[in-house]
């Protein structure tokens, strides 16, 4: 077996098991840590797909920045153990509905997966992956100077950054204490 295939199975197993662990046990602190492990596994998969830039940004943004905030919240709330919910919030009708919906979702996913042509798997990942950061930059920020030329994703990028800025200002406004005048 190829080394990268073994790597794939190991990393995939780590990712899936850690994700199951996140929802499977009641200590929120462990959930946070397992989620980080799962992100680490994902980032390893990106490395195998010859996309180191995605792998590193996955670690910096998700594991490094967002999860630290999660950890802070869990730590400061000092929720050592989740309470076991004795009474089910949904009634028996709701439970039936949920069961039907989850079965439907399962069928849907199987159907979608069965439609994936096998040629997708035969592709060499390195042929399609963009490992060079420069190329990623060009794809994102390319501006067309001549008519008919393909634009990059500048507009989507700028729109997203303005959206994030608005959200940030909003968060500051909400978090700020009312000054008594």
């Amino acid at each position: 077996m190829d080394g990268s295939v073994i790597g794939f199975y190991v990393l995939a197993a780590v990712t899936v098991l850690a994700s199951l662990g996140v929802i499977g046990q009641r200590n929120p602190m462990y959930s946070v840590m397992l989620l980080i492990v799962s992100f680490g596994g994902l980032s390893g998969l990106y490395v195998l797909l010859d996309a180191p830039f995605s792998a590193v940004t996955q670690i910096i943004i998700y594991a490094g920045a967002i999860m630290v905030l999660f950890l802070f919240v869990v730590m400061l709330l000092n929720a050592s153990k989740e309470e076991v919910a004795r009474t089910v919030a949904l009634g028996p009708g709701g439970m039936r509905m949920a069961a039907v919906l989850s079965v439907l979702l399962g069928i849907e996913m199987l159907w979608a997966l069965s439609r994936v042509p096998s040629s997708w798997f035969a592709q060499d990942p390195s042929a399609t992956a963009i490992s060079d950061v420069r190329q990623i930059g060009i794809r994102l920020f390319k501006t067309a100077t001549e008519p008919g030329e393909q634009w990059g994703h500048v507009f989507a990028f700028e729109a997203t950054s303005i959206l994030i800025l608005v959200a940030m200002v909003g968060a500051v406004v909400i978090a700020r204490k009312e000054r008594s005048s």
Partner: protein, 343 residues
Amino acid sequence: MTFSPELAAHLGLIFVIFNMLVLSAAFMVWLERKVCAYIQDRVGPNRVGFEGALQPFADVIKLLLKEPLRPKAADAVLFTLAPIISTAAAFAAFSVVPFGTSTTLFGLLDEPGIPLHVTDVNVAVLVVFAIASMGVYGIVLAGWSSNSKYALLGALRSSAQMISYELSYGMALAAVILMASSLSLREIVLQQQGYWLGFIPKWYVFPQFLGFLIFMTAGVAETNRAPFDFPEAEQELVAGYHTEYSSMGFAMFFLAEYVNMVTVSAVATSMYLGGWLGPFLPDWLAWIWFLVKVFAILFFYVWMRWTLPRLRYDQLMEFGWKWLLPASVLNLIFTAALVLWMQ
């Protein structure tokens, strides 16, 4: 992958680098105590070995033989895991730092031999940054899992500090990346070859002097050292996040701290001081320049620690957010404009 002399040499190199990091941490402990002693007009350790040079090893043996204590109320799994995360993150960051050209081990290997680094990824700078951001977890978990108020407060301070200063750290590095137009540390070092006016080396420290200052300041905060050593402010927090640790757990936090210092210095050397580049020495001895530069920065760190008093916590936060971050953003914008204008 088949077994080849190159592979064996590479594995040997990894082994050497790992042990060099451990030894440099031991050396730093000794240097710190010696320099501190001289600054305070004392002698410092002078019993074990020449001028106390074996003192760190004696300390390690002592720590190994101590009983590892764990508070009853502590979270056993995370309490054990925290020092491991800290140490692993500290060591992992060094894997992308190049410290010399390639070697053929005196002709044992075919040309061009093996390059002197563990791995050269094309996003090396980002890898250093990513691993540095993982180091926070070791400290936060140590503080939380100890279930002690001093440890928790120390961990909270430490993570708030590391998150605040990581921004300026990254912004300062981004300016160098703009100038070098590469994310590979080896590439960035090679960009600094040559001289201006025949004698000023083309190191990025000259065009990026403000960036260098920002990087060094943020680096001190990142490694939790004086004058930014709030996580372990003895007078207020006993020993901060590692208050409850004894024996090897404590030693591992100590090791992580010193290895982090070495890594920050090595990154500063590669990004701003031309890495292994330098006059007089032949190519295969170029790594000596690297060691000299890293040592100079480390000495500066120690010197600073025993010279400057600790700031107040609100001063630290104010300095980070209101001065250092705006300065690094301005530096980045100015550099970007300059690079565009030069094109």
